[in-house]
């Protein structure tokens, strides 16, 4: 215990180890926070839910903070509904039904046009459906008629797809034409306060327009952006953290501890047990590791835990067992083991209390250094589309980005976010591991 404390204090002398520890603590904090605030089912719902979950988000929008580095600021998504502050709503009754006039107001300061302009209506009626007229009022007071149309129970009006509107705004695509400054020759955004007026009429006594929502899809979204399905990438980025840590730590811990135990048992008992363990190692080294994992993933189960166990099983009898064996063979000959044997210590006691503890200085750095490779293994499998079918992981994001041509289409944030996190996780464990290696194996310190 004293020794451990001393080693830890020594670890803090290495700046790289300190950076590594800070990073690991940060990642663990993110994981715990994510698990508390977005429980698994909620995460799965947000990631697999469908259009009603992420319909309000823009498509492939980079994160908001990319605006800090841009001279031309991209717009954020603007959402206004009947309850939003600043929206004036007037409902006046008519002989049959009612007349709803809603005026939405929003400030537009971005230098670029929005991705899309939508109006979503929900209404209730029996036979005759309500009718809406929508007007667009620019900061310089021009009034542009957007559309006049009947609406159903759930209707979405997409300005971008309105050809008549396109003609009215001078042949420009509506999301550009509505925001364009008419006084200048070239295309530029007229900044200021815009108003959208919705004038709705219903034609039955109980018929009402329940909700009318104005959505201007921006070109940046949230802290992490969205993917091609409009999903908020923050879910995958946040949830990827606990998964990556759990996978990396479990796999590394499982494989190194078990292979050490097997090596110790083989060396201590010798004979056929040793021979059997060595043969199994050779066979498992002959098996193509990645191909077997891909086969298990394709044929049997894509669940991340199945993959994890197969990984551990295949790596227990990997090359590390040979290294451990060679060292155990030396340790076995040391006098203290002979003494223990002489006073009648049981085999289990010798293996677990005398042989294995001697190896802990070698085990701990190896274990920490092994974590990055397993974190990347999960990403590798996910990038082969063998990731967990339900949970969002960093590897899955990379796979989605790759298969949607993120690099070719310039959606760099999409691939860089999970990649940077993978690198950070890998670096954190590698830096701590290298320092641990130098502390526990002082021979390395001289060279």
């Amino acid at each position: 215990m004293q020794n451990l404390k001393k080693n830890l204090r020594e670890l803090l002398k290495y700046p790289s180890a300190v950076i590594g520890i800070v990073l690991i603590v940060l990642l663990v904090a993110i994981s715990v926070g994510t698990l508390i605030y977005i429980p698994r089912d909620e995460a799965v719902r947000l990631w697999r839910g469908g259009d009603q979950v992420w319909g309000q988000n823009p498509r492939t929008a980079p994160p908001v903070w990319t605006n800090w580095f841009r001279s031309e600021k991209l717009p954020e998504t603007i959402v206004r509904d009947l309850d939003t502050e600043g929206t004036t709503v007037e409902r006046s009754p008519r002989d049959m039904g009612e007349n709803l006039v809603a005026v939405y107001t929003f400030e537009y300061t971005a230098d670029d046009y929005p991705q899309d302009i939508l109006l979503k209506f929900t209404s209730d009626y029996t036979n005759r459906n309500p009718f809406v007229s929508i007007y667009w009022i620019t900061p310089d007071g021009r009034e542009i008629r957007m559309t006049e149309q009947g609406i159903g129970y759930n209707t979405t009006y997409r300005a971008v797809q309105d050809d008549a509107l396109e003609r009215r705004v001078g042949g420009l695509s509506p999301e550009i034409g509505l925001f364009d400054d008419p006084n200048t020759e070239e295309l530029d955004v007229l900044k200021g306060t815009y108003k959208v007026v919705v004038d709705a009429l219903t034609f039955e006594d109980d018929s009402v327009v329940e909700e009318a929502e104005l959505i201007l899809h921006g070109k940046v979204f949230g802290w992490f952006g969205t993917d091609v399905q409009r999903r908020d990438l923050s879910i995958a980025i946040l949830w990827g953290t606990p998964i990556a840590l759990a996978f990396g730590l479990t796999a590394s811990f499982g494989s190194s501890v078990f292979s050490m135990i097997f090596a110790a048992i083989g060396v201590w008992f010798g004979g056929w047990i040793d021979e059997a363990i060595q043969r199994v190692t050779e066979i498992s080294l002959t098996l193509p590791f990645l191909s077997i994992l891909i086969m298990v993933g394709t044929f049997y189960s894509k669940s991340i835990w199945t993959i994890l166990w197969v990984t551990v099983l295949l790596t227990i009898f990997g090359s590390s067992i040979k290294t451990y064996r060679a060292i155990f063979l030396q340790v076995k000959e040391s006098p203290y083991i002979e003494a223990a044997h002489a006073y009648g210590a049981s085999n289990t006691r010798i293996v677990f209390s005398y042989l294995i503890p001697r190896m802990i200085p070698l085990l701990i750095p190896g274990l920490v250094l092994g974590v990055p490779s397993y974190v990347f293994l999960e990403a590798t499998l996910a990038a082969l589309s063998l990731g967990d079918p339900v949970l969002p992981t960093w590897g899955k994001v990379i796979y989605d980005a790759q298969s949607n041509g993120a690099v070719y289409n310039g959606f760099y944030y999409w691939i860089l976010e999970p990649a940077v996190l993978l690198v950070l996780t890998g670096l954190a464990f590698a830096m701590v591991g290298f320092s641990l290696d130098r502390i526990f194996n002082p021979r390395l310190r001289d060279v």
């Binding site: 043969r279 193509p288 191909s291 298990v296 044929f299 070719y408 990649a419 690198v423």
Partner: protein
């Protein structure tokens, strides 16, 4: 093992080991050791291949899929063909059974899976790869051998290029670093060594992003432009251009840790007394390096070279996929995706044999380069 029993030398040795050992000729010792080693390696390969066959057939589950398909097909035939609709139900049922049995026999499904798995194993071990179920080679052949042959050259090109540069480059750099211990570059490599925890495909994505998407210096992927250039020189240049990014990715991912490990290794050897002695004698730095540092470390260098070849062989699946390189890695991926068992097994066999041959050869190379090692002794 059987080879050992047939050899008369072994029996004699067992009777009088004390006297025999001294007179035993080098030849018989090497022969005995070689045959034992070969038998063990062969056994390992056989078991590994058998395990692959079991996994690739899902322990016989793929057969169930085929059986279901046969029944569905025969049933459909009976339902649709007007010739069979006149039959009475009992006759129809009997006809159905015989048809299914015939089809199963044709696919070899009449034998239990265990028996068939051994037949697959025999074919695999005797390098009879058979025919793919779905995949085809470039010339349209179903032969697994041809499918693999098509893809072998691109994979070897990629692996050999990156492997050789990586290996000799890192040893050369490590040697110069080990001389200038503690210098800026030494600490730089030390600081960069954690970068090797990321696999090569990962660097590949970044390389594509930087050098293909933004700078447009190199192509995004593939092995050759389409249409390929006409002259031979242009062709080679074009392949070389496509080779830069994948090779760069493989080298980058392994370079720093490789240099670091070699440098540590050489440092340990250069602090030996005989090296100090050689330096004291006034030998030139190059002489010390070649005779007193490189010579004793040669066996380790060779081993790691052999193992490096094998690692890159498996590690190239995703790098090939990311760069759309038409090699064996991509083939493995496609085969698994299509449940094409014969191709998967074929690829595994080649891998297992290559590994076994490497391990086998390493022993002899050891004995060649290290006079202290004697084959077959001290075991």
């Amino acid at each position: 093992m059987s080879v050992e029993i047939q050899s008369p030398g072994v029996g004699a040795e067992a009777e009088a080991p004390q006297t025999k050992r001294r007179t035993e000729s080098t030849f018989s010792r090497v022969a005995k050791y070689t045959s034992y080693k070969l038998a063990m390696l062969f056994l390992t390969v056989v078991i590994a291949v058998y395990l692959t066959i079991l996994i690739a057939n899902m322990g016989g589950y793929v057969d169930e899929i085929v059986r279901g398909q046969i029944r569905e097909f025969v049933g459909q035939m009976l339902r649709i063909d007007p010739n069979y609709q006149q039959m009475d139900p009992e006759e129809k049922n009997e006809f159905f059974q015989t048809q299914v049995e015939r089809a199963e026999k044709r696919y070899g499904l009449d034998q239990p899976f265990v028996l068939r798995s051994f037949r697959y194993l025999w074919n695999a071990v005797t390098l009879d790869f058979g025919y793919a179920t779905l995949m085809a080679s470039d010339t349209g052949s179903r032969q697994v051998k041809l499918i693999i042959q098509d893809r072998l050259a691109p994979t070897l090109l990629l692996i050999a290029t990156s492997n050789l540069i990586l290996f000799f480059g890192s040893i050369g750099l490590a040697l110069s670093l080990s001389r200038g211990y503690g210098s800026f570059w030494d600490r730089f490599v030390l600081a960069m060594s954690p970068t090797s925890s990321a696999p090569s495909w990962f660097y590949g994505i970044f390389f594509i992003l930087i050098f293909a998407a933004i700078l447009r210096w190199f192509p995004f992927g593939g092995m050759i432009d389409s249409p390929p250039p006409r002259t031979q020189w242009a062709y080679i240049l074009n392949v070389g251009k496509h080779l830069v990014l994948p090779v760069g990715a493989i080298i980058t991912s392994a370079m720093f840790v490789s240099i670091y490990n070699w440098r540590t290794f050489f440092l340990i050897y250069s602090s030996e007394d005989y090296v100090e002695m050689a330096k004291a004698k006034g030998l030139s730095a190059n002489d010390v390096q070649n005779r007193y540092i490189l010579r004793p470390t040669l066996p380790t260098i060779i081993t790691s070279f052999g193992l490096l070849v094998i690692t890159l062989w498996t590690g190239s699946i995703l790098t090939e996929a990311v760069f759309h390189w038409p090699g064996l890695g991509q083939t493995t991926l496609t085969a698994i995706g299509l449940y094409d068992t014969p191709v998967i097994v074929g690829l595994t066999i080649i891998y297992a044999y290559l590994l076994a041959i490497t391990v086998f050869l390493l022993d002899f190379i050891y004995a060649l380069v290290d006079p202290r090692v004697k084959i077959g002794s001290g075991r």
